[in-house]
Amino acid sequence: MTAPDPSPDDAFQRAAEELWTPVYRFALAMTNDLSEADDVAQEAFVRLWGRRASIDWGEPVLGWLLVTARRIAFDRFRRLARALRFGSPAPRAVGLDAATIERFVDLRAELAVLTPAERTAILLSAVEGWSADEIGAAMGVSAGAVRAAASRGRAKLAGGDVR
């Protein structure tokens, strides 16, 4: 006897528990900003919640979440560019301990030399163990482009020629 399929609400809750960290990390690699990453990941899950009744929960939803997060992040880049012209205050991280924020401030400056694609290619392959194909699907680019971005990024971090 097989267990009944979980309800959409239960399936969503499980996805939110299991997939928050990879989606948040993806958003953090894209934005290089703790607060922005939180907002992007939250928005991706809010959109998933809105579609929970129509989603086939038998299929993995991580890919959908990552593509959604990427679109939200790029939209936010455009909005941020405009907000900066209006002089909006810098986003502040919330809900995090001071030590984590302090450590990230240093790291953020170091990683700021990388493009979002380079950060994503390097960090998510090393930290989440994703393949170039998986990262490419999330970023909307080919696996070759991911490998090239990772190579450029590593050269930048090593202080080498990046061209």
Binding site: L28, G50, G87, P89, F104
Partner: protein
């Protein structure tokens, strides 16, 4: 920082801690329009009053040089809108056109395939030779919109330096400033649905705003031809109308300015429930040509307000923002005074609707309107 530790390993640990310190929070929405997380305590003075019927009537279009210039075009599926904050500028002024595309239906969501952006911009001199613009090239990117949802795109320069009368330095400055003359600012939507390129169903729309650029003294914004008349702006999608009214166009620094915003449910249901943060409507204030700013995002659990068809919820202006941010230009005493008074200058008062229907996180409705007033 120390150079002997691996940034990837450091990121592994910091990102894990950050992910654990955040996490998905049911019922919480991010406000995309502003990433700033601000104190919302100051909005406590807001009073939400649900009333039946239209409290505010649409006014005929205004043509004062300080008024916004707007244009829209739509087909069966998309609406393209272009707004430029004023009709008249000086050559030193930053001109800030914003275009938006709204998906009108009939599907619950639609994916637009497009070049770098779904909307492109052109600038043409009326009666002259100067122009900026050109086709967009790039990979077939995609943007998904829910029914009634909009994407905003601020103006961005694109084209070929030294061709069309604008040099490399002009293209290098991201801010749009134009020489004296009359100019068409054109926004064009060029997207496909169903498939990228020739096999998809193509949607092309064009709108334009005409602005004049004159010598500085003549370009001082005049918010309204009649300073004692109310300033009213509206925006709507298929379901909601957002209206912002400021009682006068001109004030003195001691005057109480009392903007009021309202959201009206247009149908088609007999009633509709809006899910929103602290309030369905937020406010911002920006100094035209200056740095001073008030406003920020709302970030609270999903509350709900039910509206009958043609019913409205009215919100008087409430202050919200960061009193301790010196860059914003308003101090704590200003925030603690519930009455809105502003220093001499020209100011944008912005109201934005940010709600979901169906469920918290369901179908998004976002609208923005602004009034421009003069304080002297």
């Amino acid at each position: 920082m120390s150079n002997d530790r691996d940034p990837v390993e450091e990121w592994r640990d910091v990102s894990r801690r950050a992910a654990l310190g955040t996490g998905y929070r049911p019922g919480r929405r991010s406000v995309i329009r502003s990433s700033a997380k601000v104190s919302v305590a100051a909005v406590g003075a807001l009073v939400l009053v649900a009333i039946g019927g239209l409290a505010l009537r649409d006014q005929p279009p205004r043509t004062g040089p300080g008024d916004p210039v707007g244009a829209t075009a739509e087909d069966a599926n998309f609406r393209l809108a272009l707004t430029t904050p004023r009709a008249t500028y000086s050559p030193d002024d930053a001109i800030e056109p914003v275009a938006s595309v709204t998906y009108l239906g009939p599907r619950a969501t639609e994916t637009m395939s497009h070049a770098a952006y779904p909307i492109g911009f052109q600038i043409k001199e009326v009666g002259g030779e100067r122009l900026m613009g050109g086709g967009m090239r790039g990979p077939c990117l995609q943007t998904e919109l829910a029914k009634g949802e909009s994407v905003l795109l601020p103006f961005a320069k694109a084209g070929t330096p030294d061709f069309g009368g604008f040099d490399r330095a002009w293209y290098g400055d991201p801010v749009l400033r134009l020489p004296e003359g009359t100019w068409q600012i054109i926004a064009y939507l060029d997207v496909s649905v169903g498939d990228c390129g020739g096999d998809g169903e193509r949607h092309q729309l064009t709108v334009e705003n005409v602005v004049r650029v004159v010598e500085r003294d003549a370009a001082i914004p005049t918010p309204s031809a009649s300073p004692d008349h109310p300033v009213i702006a509206t925006a709507e999608d298929a379901s909601f109308r957002l209206t912002l009214t400021t009682p006068r166009a001109t004030y003195s620094p001691d005057d109480a300015i009392e903007p009021v915003a309202s959201v009206t449910y247009l149908g088609p249901q007999a009633t509709e429930t809006m899910f929103h943060a602290a309030y369905p409507i937020g406010f911002r204030i920006g100094e035209v040509g200056g740095e001073r700013l008030m406003g920020g995002g709302m970030d609270l659990p999903c509350l709900r307000t039910e509206l009958a068809k043609a019913g409205s919820a009215v919100l008087p202006f409430g202050k919200a923002g960061s009193p301790d941010d010196p860059k914003q230009g308003f101090d704590r005493a200003w925030y603690e005074d519930p009455v809105l008074r502003l220093p001499a200058g020209t100011w944008r008062i912005i109201a934005y609707l940010d709600v979901y229907v169906g469920d918290c996180g369901g179908e998004a409705h976002q609208l923005t309107v602004e009034n421009i007033i003069l304080v002297r």
